[in-house]
Amino acid sequence: MADKNILLSEGELLVSSSPHIRAEETVDWLMWQVVIALLPAAISSVYFFGFRSLFLMVLGVATAVLTEAAVEKALGKEITIKDGSAAVTGLLLAFNVPANAPWWLVVLGAIFAIAVVKQTFGGLGYNFVNPALTARAFLLAAWPQYLAGNFPLPLDTITGATPLAILDGTAAGTLPSYLDLFLGNVGGVLGETSALALLVGGLYLIWQKVIDWRTPVAFIGTVAVLSWAFGGNGGLFTGDPLYHVLAGGLMLGAFFMATDYVTSPVTPKGRLGFGVGCGIITVLIRLWGGYPEGVSYSILLMNLLVPFLERWTVPRVYGTKSAQA
């Protein structure tokens, strides 16, 4: 050991707390994974509803990202648009409007989602309800004429009722086949119709361990069981669970909205309970509520219950008998 030249003087070495290595996943990576997972649904939406659908999606993303940048700039905060969370919100918002919605509806919705729901409460990580869904609820309350009633039918220029509205008895029409429902060849908002595309994206997220399987499985499972039990006209257990699972916004909600990190519980059991709760409220609204569809309100209502779910589902601490008080 001849040379002693590696004696470093104080201050040359970086000192920080353990751990000194970190997993590769970053917030940015996670959010862009969600964008990737939404692409199949986006593509199927363009296929079924035409290029206006693409226009609305681009508009939603662009407005959300610009709003995020503008608000953060105005508040003197770090600009975080490249983390992808605003893009996800903008895309999900566009998924929630029909193809014949006016362009400004998407713009105002995206601004509301980012500026009011997200940034007002402190930006990513601090909003207590899902921005895209809250914006959808806002749009529905503000301009109900565009978001309730008849939606454009795929591959066509006429509008018609959504499958759930027909099932609900609030609209006339013939129910589409299971295959059409599964592929997305039905009326509805941009991103919700193709169960197949959403399932592909959702399974990709579960495979990449971006989302926890518990929330979607509990959500969809609860809807299936309850709609089977109570959804029929001929008494208990005469409902059509498959129809209820494939129709409406359930796939979109269960895989992409109820799994939103910020607004769902951090505990595994809490996520299970979150999914079950969403399922119960969805079926309540679908079968007995004033609206034909209840996925978005069910998720928003459960968002508000997250702190309680987390308190009720604390994991058992090692070396203790039961969960902490």
Binding site: L7, V15, S18, T26, Q324
Partner: protein, 438 residues
């Protein structure tokens, strides 16, 4: 068959390839060693003074306190100074500095014996005299650890061969190369504690070590080799007990409350050296690795050797971003390279500036990964908020005091939050409040 393991945990890249298969080499005798007197429990009082000549194995520090282990000279030569030095565990301790005379003269101590000839009391005495401490990093005096409080006893001894920290391979090499000694050491632990059954837990990615130990214990019906799932922190005492025995250490309790004694591989090897050769703890195996080193090695080195000497020996080639004593998950970043190897220094890890670059901390997105990763079942993200906002009551209810500071939560965090320092702060505050109440 599923491998035995615990709940939670993370899977960092093992990064053991560069040293896992390379046999232990012996470092050249250092010209100078710095031997801190506080290495496990209460600091020792020096038994030598400046100018004294010492021999290898000569006791140079001892304390009257029960919870303290003596320290020994690791080279022969002259004591040139007794002065406070910075230690790699972050403390400052009085240390004996010895300049080598180059002769490596060993003090003729007990000369060695055989396990069969020793009574449990003999072994316990030897453990203390040899200065044995937990060599995984904590450096808790071993003679204290093997003395159960009144009314409690051990029924199982576990040799901790998990070595779940990435990069570190010193225990793995000892298991492969010194198999017989480890088994002898385990038998000694069984004898001294009266426990019925001995286990050797090894993560299943260390196939060679598992095979070697299995071959050595085919005749031993009281010893079981347990392959464990490769997962961090498998080698944490509490997690190892859960994995192997299916028991849990009660919150706030000690492993003895679960009837288990967990011993480090290095300590077990040191015990068998003390029994068969009469050698006190004056050397240990240290894994010195990291990308800036041309020749990463497992090095048998004398206690008190400076990190800088070992880094030169491994041919440092490139800039150091971070110098870590221990592994990358729980090791301690060093401010300087002239700190001595302690009895608990299992590894020296050098990270390049690129690997060590600090990652910006972002807001928590509540993804819940830390909750899944926590081996204790805490909710790190909530505790992080409580500790940062000094909400000690909530932190106490959230069991922050049970945190083992393994860093799994911070490892998986996509927002790269500094969870460990926040929880460590909370833990210290909650413990202090508890002491004040008593």
């Amino acid at each position: 068959m599923g491998l035995r393991t615990f709940v939670g945990g993370v899977h960092p890249a093992p990064s053991k390839g560069r040293t896992g298969d390379s046999p232990v080499v012996t470092a050249p005798l250092p010209q100078k060693v710095v031997i801190p007197l506080a290495q496990g429990g209460a600091p020792c009082d020096p038994l030598v003074k400046v100018g004294d000549k010492v021999q290898v194995g000569q006791k140079i520090g001892e304390s009257q306190a029960f919870v303290s282990a003596p320290v020994h000279a690791s080279i022969s030569g002259n004591v040139t100074a007794i002065e406070p030095v910075a230690c790699p565990n972050g403390r400052t301790s009085l240390a004996v500095v010895i300049e080598s005379d180059g002769n490596d003269i060993w003090l003729n101590t007990t000369g060695g014996s055989s396990l069969d000839a020793m009574s449990p009391a003999d072994i316990k005495g030897l453990v203390r005299e040899a200065g044995l401490v937990g060599m995984g990093g904590a450096m808790f005096p071993t003679h204290v650890k093997i003395s159960p409080p009144p009314g409690k006893s051990f029924d199982a001894v576990i040799i901790n061969g998990a070595e779940c920290e990435p990069y570190l391979t010193c225990d793995q090499r000892l298991l492969v190369e010194e198999t017989e000694s480890i088994v002898l050491g385990l038998k000694a632990w069984l004898k001294v504690t009266g426990a019925k059954k001995g286990y050797i837990g090894i993560e299943d990615n260390k196939r060679e070590a598992i095979a070697a130990i299995k071959a050595a214990v085919t005749e031993e019906k009281d010893i079981e080799v347990v392959p464990l799932m490769t997962k961090f922190p498998q080698g944490s005492e509490k997690q190892l007990i859960a994995s192997i025995l299916g028991r849990e250490v009660p919150s706030g309790g000690l492993p003895v409350d679960a009837g288990a004694l967990v011993q480090n591989v290095g300590t077990t090897y040191a015990l068998s050296q003390a029994i068969t050769a009469g050698k006190p703890l004056v050397e240990r195996v240290v894994t010195v690795t990291g990308t800036p080193l041309k020749k990463p090695l497992n090095i048998r080195t004398r206690i008190g050797t400076l990190f800088s000497d070992l880094l030169s020996f491994c041919e440092l080639d490139g800039e150091i971003g971070k110098l870590i004593s221990g592994g990358p998950m729980m090791g301690i970043a060093q401010t300087r390279a002239d700190v001595p190897v302690l009895k608990g220094t299992s590894g020296i890890l050098v990270l390049s500036p690129q690997e060590a670059r600090p990652l910006p901390e972002r807001a928590c997105i509540r993804c819940g990964r830390c909750v899944d990763a926590c081996p204790i079942g805490l909710i790190p993200t909530l505790l992080d908020q409580y500790c940062r906002h000094e909400m000690w009551e909530q932190a106490t209810q959230g069991h922050v005091a049970d945190c083992i500071e393994c860093g799994s939560c911070a490892y998986v965090c996509p927002s790269k939050r500094h969870l460990v320092p926040a929880l460590r702060l909370g833990k210290a505050e909650v413990m202090a409040q508890r002491r004040r109440k008593k």
